[in-house]
Symmetry: C2
Amino acid sequence: MTTPGRGLHGHVLESLGPAITAGEYPPGSVLRTDELAQRFEVSRSVMREAVRVLESMHLVESRRRVGVTVLPTSEWNVYDPQVIRWRLAGADRPRQLRSLTVLRSAVEPVAAGLAAEHATAEECAELTECALGMVASSRGHQLEKYLFHDVAFHRVILNASRNEMFARLGDVVAEVLAGRTRHQVMFWDPDPAAVTLHVKVAEAVRERDAARAEELTREIAVGALQELDILAP
Amino acid sequence: MTTPGRGLHGHVLESLGPAITAGEYPPGSVLRTDELAQRFEVSRSVMREAVRVLESMHLVESRRRVGVTVLPTSEWNVYDPQVIRWRLAGADRPRQLRSLTVLRSAVEPVAAGLAAEHATAEECAELTECALGMVASSRGHQLEKYLFHDVAFHRVILNASRNEMFARLGDVVAEVLAGRTRHQVMFWDPDPAAVTLHVKVAEAVRERDAARAEELTREIAVGALQELDILAP
DNA sequence: TGCGGAGAAAAAGTCAGACCTTTATGGCGC
DNA sequence: GCGCCATAAAGGTCTGACTTTTTCTCCGCA
């Protein structure tokens, strides 16, 4: 997605990171830099750089005379896009999808409300275009195309909210939607009700109706939660 | 707070990180590892580790033959607690406080609703205790004591939501509350209405009334937004 | 004049080895 | 049984040499 494994240390990270987030080394496990360097056939300096990055993500802690200790999940920087990607690729993908979807359900309605207040004419147009694209691809097994427009739609909303923290969740939402499409229950065409809601959100934003945009987005969120059985039906 | 500057590379980071997030090196600026190493009087290996960490936060990008380029704000990992701390310590503290408060206003009501569903008896007790502590310290210039209970209250809520992403915002909320108390408009005693609302949230959670907990927390959020002039009065 | 390729230079990337610093631990004496 | 000290194990730091990639420049040719 964003950063492929640039450099040797990046390559090491792409192997170690997923292993740690997948729980292959349980919290408390102790690794030794030298041993890791040997295992990955890189120099100590390269391995040290990799460990530093893992440490900055709070996945591990390096202490003298002890080694590199794997930290408990509660310490991890779970908002780090890299960490999110690693976890979504691993075994607890379902758990992760749930957590992230709940986060979306909290953030996106508020973001939509703000978007209604701040969206430029251009953004309104983009939004409508995305919604129409979703409608067009909502039938006949065009899941990939639908996903594309869906992601674009939510990105525009988050960016138009003019809130930096919201905007940076665009990648997260993209990952969640992609995960849902490719590994979840969307074997058939998307729920027509959801498609309609997106069109209505685009309308509400265009009409600067913040309350309505928020409420409609909340309905979309409820749908997403139900898909994952987080809410009672 | 969490990680003081452990090791030489940590020391370098605590100087370079704030400088970059403060915009001292505008996006596009190019730094050279060797020059930085000289400036900070550390070896290249140490400087390389520091740069790796900055790179993992997407504050900079390192490219051969070019150097270490400062990335635009839109690329930064703004959820990284370290980055948040650096920015809160710098010049755009007010902007940052606004962004984070809006985030809080989206997340905390939902978290409170979930907390009402999932809180253990022990957590309910803690919550009540915090609320009472807030009441007790809400008069007579006991701002530090009030802050302590306030932070604890919101931490319990976020943890009791049983959502990992929400729980990890505990530190962020703590920073925001601390920032508000120490650098913002709270020269006098806190708003009695806010104190009352906290007590009521604790009640609602104890009574497992998710909707009420959510609504009350939303009112607290509105108050916080008004304090920063984000909402019309 | 403009363009494409060869070459040079600049900067990061990698490595190996030596040495320093901290700290857990185990043994020794009290 | 308790506390102190020596020891060793691991990460931390530094240095210098070498490699690799990439960009810039300059030259020759069309």
